[in-house]
C-alpha cells in the first residue's frame, strides 16, 4: 500500500493540474482525493509536495540489443534504464542477431522480458526477413505472438514495391508500419549532416534529402494503401512539411522525433565527438525550430527515445568506424522539460501527450491514466532539480549518451509500475 501525498497530477488530457493524494493498493489506484488519511503498518508514504505526478511513459522506439549484442545492453539492463527514465512500456526494435523476424524470436523476447524485466516490453517485428529488404516476414504469426508494429529500423526498405506490400499486408493485422526513412544511395558513406560542420571537419555528409525523399515516397504509398504509416525519428524541416501536408490530405500517417533532435545541432560533432554520431544525423538550428513548431501544432505525435546503446570501446574509435546511436531513456524527460517547457514555454501537460497518450494510441494500447481503479503506473518528477549527465550515474549498461556533461532541468525521482516501486527518490529499487 502506497500513499502519495500532495501530488500535482497531470494526466495530459486537461491543462489543469489536480492537487490530491493518491492511494495505491496492490497494483491499482484505489483512491484519489485530498488529504487521504490511513492507518496501516505497511503503508509507504511518498511526499510529492512541489512535484509533478504523471502517468508513466511509453516509448515507441528503442533498442534492447538482446539477442545477439548483450555486451551493449540486454533486456534486463535496458528495462532498468527505461524504468530509471520513467518508461514502463517500451517497444524494442528488431535489429538484433538474429533479428526479430519470426514468431520464435518474438516469443523469446517476450519470455525473457517476463523473466527479467520489471516493465512491459513489446517487440516490434521486422518488415522483411533478416532485415534484408527482400521478402516480407511472417507478420501475422509475429502479431499472434505479441508484436505491436513492424519496422526494419536501422535500414530503409529501399524497394518501393515491397514497402507498398508491407503497408497493405500490415493493414490486415491492424498494426502500424514504422518507417526508417533513409535513401541509402544518398546517404552512402555519410557520417554527419551534410552542411557547415561536415565542410569544416571534412567528414562525409548525409544530405537531408536522404530522409525527406523517402518520407515523401512512403506518404504517397500510405495515401494509396490507406495503411497506418508511422515515420520514426524525423529530423528535418522538409520531412515535417511533407508530413504536415500528408495529414492535411488525410493520410493515415503519424510520426515521432527524439529528444536529441529537438535540443542539439550538428555543432555537437565538433571535436569529432562520436557520442554525437546518430542516424539520422543531428541537423541545424532551423530544423530544431521546425521540429519544436511541429510538436506545438501536433504534426509530431510523440517522442521516441531511439535508445541505442553501444559499448564504450565501439565509440572510442576513429569517427568513421563508430556506430551511430545514443542511449536515451534516462535523459528523455529532462531534455524535453528543459528544451520544450523551460525554454519554449510549452505546457507541461503536452509532455504527457508526447510520452504517453499518443504513443499508446499509435500502438493501439490501452490508455494509461492516473485515475481510480486504473493500474498504478506513474512517475513523480521534481521540476526544479538541475543535474549534470554523468557517465557514472547512467543505469544502462552502455554510457554513450549524447548529453554527457550537459546540464538538464527536472528529474524523474520515483517510478511506480503496477503498484511496484521501481525507483524511489532517485534510487533504483528493482
Amino acid at each position: 500500500m502506497i500513499l502519495i501525498k500532495n501530488a500535482n497530477i497531470i494526466n495530459g488530457s486537461t491543462k489543469d493540474t489536480q492537487k490530491a493524494d493518491i492511494l495505491i493498493v496492490d497494483d491499482k489506484i484505489e483512491k484519489i482525493a485530498p488529504d487521504i488519511e490511513i492507518e496501516n503498518p505497511g503503508l509507504k508514504i511518498i511526499d510529492a509536495t512541489g512535484k509533478y505526478v504523471f502517468p508513466s511513459f511509453t516509448d515507441i522506439h528503442c533498442h534492447l540489443r538482446e539477442p545477439g549484442f548483450e555486451y551493449k545492453e540486454d533486456i534486463k539492463s535496458g528495462s532498468l534504464s527505461a524504468a530509471a527514465g520513467g518508461f514502463t512500456t517500451i517497444c524494442c526494435m528488431p535489429n538484433t542477431n538474429p533479428p526479430i523476424d519470426n514468431r520464435a524470436i518474438v516469443a523469446y523476447v517476450k519470455y525473457r522480458a517476463k523473466e527479467v524485466s520489471p516493465i512491459e516490453v513489446l517487440p516490434v517485428g521486422a518488415i522483411t526477413k533478416g532485415l534484408n529488404g527482400e521478402e516480407l516476414s511472417e507478420i501475422g504469426f509475429m502479431k499472434q505472438e505479441g508484436i505491436v508494429a513492424i519496422s526494419d529500423d536501422g535500414k530503409c526498405v529501399m524497394n518501393a514495391n515491397l514497402m507498398r506490400n508491407a503497408l497493405l499486408y500490415a493493414k490486415d493485422f491492424s498494426i502500424p508500419v514504422i518507417s526508417h526513412c533513409e535513401d541509402t544511395n544518398l546517404s552512402e558513406g555519410g557520417q554527419i549532416n551534410l552542411g557547415l560542420v561536415s565542410t569544416v571537419l571534412g567528414l562525409r555528409g548525409i544530405p537531408r534529402e536522404a530522409e525527406s525523399v523517402i518520407v515523401a515516397r512512403d506518404i504517397l504509398l500510405a495515401k494509396e494503401t490507406k495503411a497506418h504509416l508511422h515515420i520514426t525519428h524525423v529530423s528535418t524541416k522538409e520531412s515535417i512539411e511533407l508530413i504536415r501536408m500528408a495529414k492535411e490530405w488525410g493520410v493515415n500517417v503519424t510520426c515521432d522525433t527524439c529528444p536529441h533532435y529537438i535540443s542539439l545541432t550538428e555543432e555537437e560533432v565538433m571535436g569529432f565527438n562520436t557520442n554525437a554520431k546518430v542516424n539520422p544525423p543531428l541537423r541545424t538550428e532551423e530544423d530544431v525550430e521546425a521540429l519544436i513548431e511541429a510538436i506545438k501544432d501536433g504534426v509530431i505525435d510523440c517522442i521516441a527515445t531511439d535508445h541505442a546503446p553501444h559499448h564504450k570501446d565501439e565509440k572510442n574509435v576513429e569517427f568513421n568506424l563508430a556506430p551511430s546511436g545514443t542511449v536515451g531513456f534516462e535523459t528523455a524527460f529532462a531534455v524535453l522539460y528543459t528544451f520544450l517547457v523551460k525554454k519554449k514555454g510549452l505546457d507541461v501537460s503536452k509532455l504527457v501527450e508526447l510520452l504517453n497518450i499518443n504513443p499508446r494510441r499509435i500502438l493501439n494500447l490501452k490508455p494509461n491514466m492516473i485515475e481510480e481503479n486504473q493500474k498504478a503506473n506513474l512517475v513523480i518528477v521534481d521540476p526544479n532539480r538541475e543535474w549534470e549527465v554523468k557517465e557514472e550515474d547512467i543505469v544502462s549498461k552502455s554510457k554513450n549518451s549524447i548529453f554527457l556533461g550537459k546540464k538538464l532541468f527536472s528529474f524523474v525521482e520515483t517510478v511506480i509500475y503496477e503498484g511496484k516501486i521501481l525507483k524511489k527518490d532517485g534510487e533504483m529499487e528493482c
Binding site: L196, T199, G202, E318
Partner: protein
C-alpha cells in the same frame, strides 16, 4: 605546442612562429652536413595508413637531420593487418616510449582521436578530408619566401575542394592573414557552405585572373567512378590548368601544387615547367617546415 593537428585551431602567432623557425631550419638544409642535435634522444615514429612518398620521406628526413631516433611503421606489414585497432596501436606506441607520432590516416579526425588517447605529441600528416597542416604551412612558407609577404594576397584554390585536406588547411591558415581566398572546381566537388569561408568563382578564368597565387589540387581518379566527375579528359578541358587557361594567369602568379601531379589531368607539363611554378621548391620547403614543427612539439618549456 604539444600537438599539430590542424591550422583551424592554431593562432596567427603560432603559425608565424613555425614559419620563422622554418626559415632558420632551411639554412641547415643548405649546409653540407645537414645535421643538428635538436632532437637527439627523441623517438619519432611515422605511422602511415595511406600511401605517401613525399610527406613521409620529408618527415623522416626532417627528424633524421635533427638527430632523432626514427622508426617508420608500414601499416601493410604491421599488426593492423592482424586486426589491431588504432587505439591499441597507440597504446603499443606509448609503451614503446614514442615521443612524437607522425600519422596519416584515411579517416577525418583520426589524429585528434590519437591525441585524445595518448601522452606523446601527435603531428597530423593528413587525416581523411579534414586537414594536412604541414602541407599548408609549407605552402605559406613558399608564398612568403617568393612574394616577400603572407598577408592581403589574392589566392585561388582550384579543383576538388570537397575531399581536399590540403584545401581546408590552406583556407584556415591563409584566412588568418587577411588573404582573399577564392575556390573553384566542379560543383560536385565543392562542399556546402564553402562560400561562408571563401569566395567561390563562377568560372576558371575568373578564379585564376589577377591572382597572386594559384594552388592547384590533385584530383583522385576514383572520383570518376563515384559519379562526381565524368572523365579525366573532360576535367582537364574544363577545370584543368591547361594551355587555354594559361593566358589568363600572369607570369607573376605563383602556381603551386601539393603533388603528386596527374600531368594532363589537373595541370599541363608546360605550366609545370614555368619559372613561377613552385612544385619542387614546395617539397624542399616542406622539410624545413617539418623540422620546425618537430622542434616545437618536443620543446617541453614551450609545452
Amino acid at each position: 605546442m604539444k600537438h599539430l593537428l590542424g591550422l583551424r585551431d592554431l593562432s596567427k602567432e603560432e603559425i608565424l612562429k613555425i614559419l620563422n623557425l622554418a626559415k632558420d631550419m632551411k639554412l641547415i638544409l643548405k649546409s653540407e652536413t645537414k645535421k643538428t642535435p635538436h632532437l637527439q634522444g627523441y623517438s619519432v615514429v611515422t605511422l602511415f595508413y595511406e600511401n605517401s612518398t613525399r610527406t613521409r620521406t620529408s618527415f623522416e628526413l626532417a627528424a633524421k637531420f635533427m638527430s632523432a631516433n626514427t622508426t617508420s611503421i608500414s601499416v601493410a606489414t604491421s599488426s593492423v593487418q592482424k586486426g589491431e585497432s588504432l587505439l591499441d596501436t597507440v597504446r603499443t606506441l606509448e609503451a614503446l616510449k614514442t615521443d612524437v607520432l607522425i600519422v596519416r590516416h584515411s579517416v577525418s579526425g583520426a589524429a585528434h582521436f590519437i591525441a585524445k588517447n595518448c601522452s606523446f605529441s601527435v603531428i597530423n600528416a593528413g587525416d581523411g578530408m579534414n586537414e594536412h597542416p604541414t602541407q599548408a604551412l609549407l605552402d605559406m612558407f613558399t608564398i612568403r619566401e617568393r612574394l616577400g609577404k603572407l598577408e592581403k594576397l589574392k589566392i585561388a584554390i582550384i579543383g576538388d575542394i570537397l575531399h581536399s585536406r590540403v584545401a581546408r588547411s590552406n583556407i584556415w591558415g591563409l584566412k588568418k592573414f587577411e588573404n582573399e581566398v577564392t575556390v573553384y572546381g566542379p560543383r560536385t566537388l565543392l562542399p556546402p557552405f564553402i562560400d561562408k569561408f571563401v569566395n567561390v568563382a563562377s568560372s576558371l578564368e575568373e578564379a585564376v585572373c589577377n591572382k597572386d597565387v594559384v594552388i592547384d589540387l590533385r584530383i583522385q581518379l576514383e572520383r570518376q567512378k563515384r559519379g562526381l566527375i565524368s572523365s579525366k579528359y573532360e576535367y582537364y578541358e574544363f577545370f584543368g590548368l591547361n594551355e587555354d587557361i594559361s593566358k589568363f594567369i600572369s607570369k607573376d602568379t605563383l602556381i603551386m601544387h601539393p603533388g603528386p601531379v596527374n600531368r594532363g589531368v589537373e595541370i599541363s607539363s608546360e605550366i609545370m615547367n614555368l619559372p613561377n611554378c613552385t612544385i619542387e621548391e614546395q617539397v624542399t620547403n616542406g622539410i624545413a617546415v617539418r623540422m620546425a614543427v618537430l622542434y616545437l612539439c618536443t620543446r617541453k618549456e614551450v609545452n
